[in-house]
């Protein structure tokens, strides 16, 4: 298993598509905290779903001016359908080509399965990882660790 990047490490920069016509560059998000939520795949069951929970938690995250980005190896059209269907108010980035490259850079790729780990990172405004957490793939980690990490940034 890969080793997750840990607190104190500068977050590797990346540029990934967030939709058919738009890209997100991590370095453009300096000045405020960023939450990176790597996850295995779109379309897991709704009520227990990690991203649905984070979607509901956006107002809590916004109190810290934190931006949430979801990342998986699914393609942009899959992400778009998923995001529209679930009314997500944050971007899903497609780590699709070369497949899983950004997930690998963060130590959050399951090469044996071909998808991302369920892993969380909280970055400070300077782009340094201040907290990371690897969850068992089948366990929804909840948002308490993210909030505690955001609290610690203050």
């Amino acid at each position: 298993m890969s080793s997750l990047l840990s607190a104190g490490t500068p977050a590797p920069d990346f540029t990934l598509p967030r939709g058919p016509d738009a890209k997100t560059r991590l370095a453009d998000s300096r000045g405020h905290p960023v939450i990176l939520a790597f996850y295995p795949a779109d379309w897991s069951p709704v009520c227990g779903d990690e991203l649905a929970l984070f979607n509901e938690c956006l107002p809590e995250f916004q109190r810290y001016r934190a931006e949430l980005l979801g990342i998986s190896v699914d393609g942009v059209w899959c992400h778009k359908a998923y995001r529209d269907a679930r009314h997500f108010d944050f971007h899903l980035l497609a780590d699709f080509e070369p497949k899983g490259a950004v997930s690998r850079a963060y130590g959050a790729y399951r090469a044996q399965d071909g998808f991302s780990e369920r892993a969380l990172f909280v970055l400070d405004g300077a782009g340094v990882i201040r907290w990371s957490y690897l969850s068992p793939v089948s366990v929804n980690p909840g948002a308490d660790g993210i909030l505690a990490a955001l609290d610690a940034l203050k």
Binding site: L53, N140, G145
Partner: protein, 180 residues
């Protein structure tokens, strides 16, 4: 700082909706959403474990409406809090879970009226969001506690990650009630 060690924050207090004795050896806290189908399935399971354990169990319900997934969940939660204001929390709680497919505002107001709550007051409570903050306090406490979906249960303050199945839940409760 591991999410798996999530604990209930804040602990059960006088602000909570409680069934069962305060000195029961086991406290089961549910963070739930009245429109969530999994919470609807959990509702009879909770009743079953309450029957099995009797005075050994204290049950607490806190609101965790997933409002973006369930468009009626927020108002349903607010109506339960409105009913609480009139001393009718648990009857409203039961009505909501027994009528998960009828949670429009007019349904909610009708349930209030059926419990003897003034319909105009109930309608105004929803329209003015009188209990919105109360619901949000529960939601925020759930996020801090490590709620990771609905329903999420805590047994004596520790998140229950086991199966949503009456036998599994009862086993966990009974073992929490038994001294080491």
């Amino acid at each position: 700082m591991r999410s798996s060690s999530a604990g209930l924050t804040p602990p059960v207090s006088a602000r909570d909706h409680v069934q069962g004795p305060a000195d029961a050896p086991v406290t089961l806290v549910e963070y739930g959403d009245y429109e969530c189908p999994h919470c609807g399935r959990a509702y009879p399971m909770v009743q079953a474990v309450q029957r099995s354990m009797g005075n050994d169990l204290r049950f607490v319900f806190r609101n965790f409406p997933l409002a973006k997934s369930h468009p009626h969940a927020e108002h349903a939660a607010e109506m339960a809090e409105a009913a609480d204001h009139q001393g009718k929390f648990w009857p409203m709680h039961d009505l909501l879970f027994e009528n998960q497919d009828a949670l429009e505002d007019e349904d909610l107001i009708g349930y209030a009226a059926s419990l003897g709550i003034d319909a105009a007051w109930a309608a105004a409570a929803l329209a003015q969001g009188l209990f919105r903050e109360r619901v949000h306090e529960d939601f925020a406490s759930g996020v801090k506690s490590g709620v990771n979906g609905t329903p999420t249960f805590f047994i004596n303050g520790v998140r229950y990650d086991g199966l949503l199945h009456p036998t599994s839940l009862l086993d966990a409760l009974v073992s929490a009630a038994t001294p080491e």
